[in-house]
Subunit: 332 residues, 2 copies
């Protein structure tokens, strides 16, 4: 990351703003009682994560000419909502680890995790309210809509686990709701609190929505092309779990004969053994599935980026562009 005397120190902005967000998150529940409820919440909220969503609240406030200091609590709010979804999804997926640490229901128990997730939703509204001075109705409605979309997306995701004929269109609609809607919401919240005009609100929403879809397809792709890391991420784990990812569904469309048979077997057996991963990796490479995914990621990222031109603040715009580029080039 280059820093020069003349140009804006983008990385410095990111570091200092994200430091504030981390601090606020860590302090949020420190003295709240009962500890049986808030200690588990703190455990999860302090457990890292990319913090993309709160960063986007800040960036879109900045990009529309708003003040960062007006949206810190809103940024915290979207991060809490995101964490609520993770806590509950981990129960539903019976996941043991998250960010290299035990999931909340594994560290405590399922009841504690359900309740921690529930209270996070309310804590998120409480945090959001602190940054609501004008347009309160709009802000709450955007926020609520985002949570509803996430629930619908998770429901579709669970539904698709047991359905055998999921189309790529349905898949895109599902990841829009499950992943992109909250990223879109983060952008809208930042801009709405900053009282951006309608065209700028639309622009940041479109940016967030398309970035979110690109982000999720990238996530699917990294399951094959990513680096195994110390956080316990295993290449091919989506295949092991029989997940109907973009790659898998695209492969279902493009293959015939024995490859198609093999893929249908994955659905039937609800996953594969670790030893079989290379075989499916080869299918993905041989049939151009990897390139298809890459092309799709580029397509949605471009759709995101073209919304930035209409935003008034150069620094905000540049930071949003940088974030999109970082996400597209990440390897975990």
């Amino acid at each position: 990351m280059k820093r020069t005397g003349n140009s804006i120190d983008y990385y410095g902005i990111y570091e200092s703003e994200m430091g504030k967000i981390e601090n606020k998150l860590n302090r949020l529940l420190i003295k709240k009682e009962p500890r049986s409820l808030y200690e588990p919440c703190s455990y999860f909220l302090s457990n890292g994560g990319k913090r993309i969503r709160p960063y986007l609240v800040l960036l879109s406030a900045k990009a529309v000419g708003g003040k960062l200091s007006d949206v810190y609590n809103a940024a915290i709010a979207v991060e809490i909502v995101h964490n609520f979804t993770l806590v509950h999804d981990d129960i539903m997926d019976n996941s043991d680890k998250r960010r290299g640490m035990p999931t909340l229901h594994k560290k405590y128990d399922i009841s504690t995790a359900i309740l921690a997730g529930d209270s996070m939703i309310a804590l998120a509204y409480e945090s959001l309210a602190k940054d609501c001075k004008k347009n309160i109705g709009n802000i709450f409605s955007i926020f609520t809509h985002g949570i509803i979309e996430v629930c619908e997306g998770q429901s579709l995701d669970k539904e698709y686990e047991i359905r055998n004929n999921v189309s790529i269109n349905e898949y895109i609609k599902m990841i829009y709701k499950k992943t992109a809607a909250l990223i879109e919401m983060s952008c809208r919240i930042g801009a709405e609190i900053s009282e951006a005009p309608a065209d700028q609100l639309r622009a940041v929403a479109n940016f967030g929505r398309n970035l979110g879809i690109a982000f999720q397809i990238q996530d699917d792709l990294l399951d094959i092309t990513g680096k195994e890391d110390s956080f316990g991420k295993t290449i091919g784990s989506d295949l092991i779990e029989g997940k109907k990812t973009f790659l898998f569904l695209r492969a279902m469309e493009k293959t015939t004969g024995k490859e198609k048979q093999a893929l249908m077997q994955v659905i039937e057996n609800k996953g594969i053994e670790r030893i079989e991963i290379p075989r499916f990796e080869k299918i993905y490479y041989d049939f151009g599935i990897i390139e298809d995914a890459e092309r799709e990621i580029v397509k949605y990222t471009k759709l995101a980026l073209r919304n930035l031109n209409s935003l008034p603040d150069k620094c905000g715009r540049d930071l949003m562009r940088r974030l999109a580029n970082i996400l597209i080039h990440r390897n975990k």
Copy 2:
């Protein structure tokens, strides 16, 4: 229920208003997709219940001089929140039945029930928003505070299940949060939307809080003195589950010798067998625990009722008084 030509037809008001609420609840999710999410929500929301909380939203709006038609959506909102807590509590308590029907996680599965509960929170905010014209910040903050209290109350309840030295004061604090806070919130929401002045807001809040505590102690009492009914309610089920109810904790305070030993055994064994119920019923009667509970219910009901005098609308006041009397004299 008497109805005369001269007096207000209280029962008629109740019936017609509650009919509207039921209708709205039944229609709310009828066409919403995905059905995998909303069908389970509808199943639960349409499954009866006393509808006390939405009724209180209407009554407190009326009592402060507001219009019923201004708070229907808010009434729906509190009922949805109440139902969210039931859906998630049923998972935590591993309950099979609710209102004589399979609980949501038994009819579907735990994932569906978690997600249905989650989305109910957001649906509740969505419904509430429809009735927010002024004081939006206050209304949302009262609502959010209510949800946080309920989560804290449930957490304390779970905590007390495994703690052996729960005092009656702690118990009252717990049921305030777990039960009374949402009833208080229902009253506050109705009055806040109706733009009641501060003293009336305080009055309906105090009414709701004390009524809620009386309601919960009555619930504890009915576990011993209530009627077994066709909904599968069994006398003594709190004892079977080893719940630390008002009666149980009061008995712990008042008994010595072999009765105290028996109660401590209930804690140690986390409950009793059905055959042992009469023995504990006898302790409750012999040591005046039943009268103590009745006295406590009367005390909190009186504390509730004395707030009504300051409210301007006679019909609203009378309906609130009637509701309190019905609740105190219910047998299930």
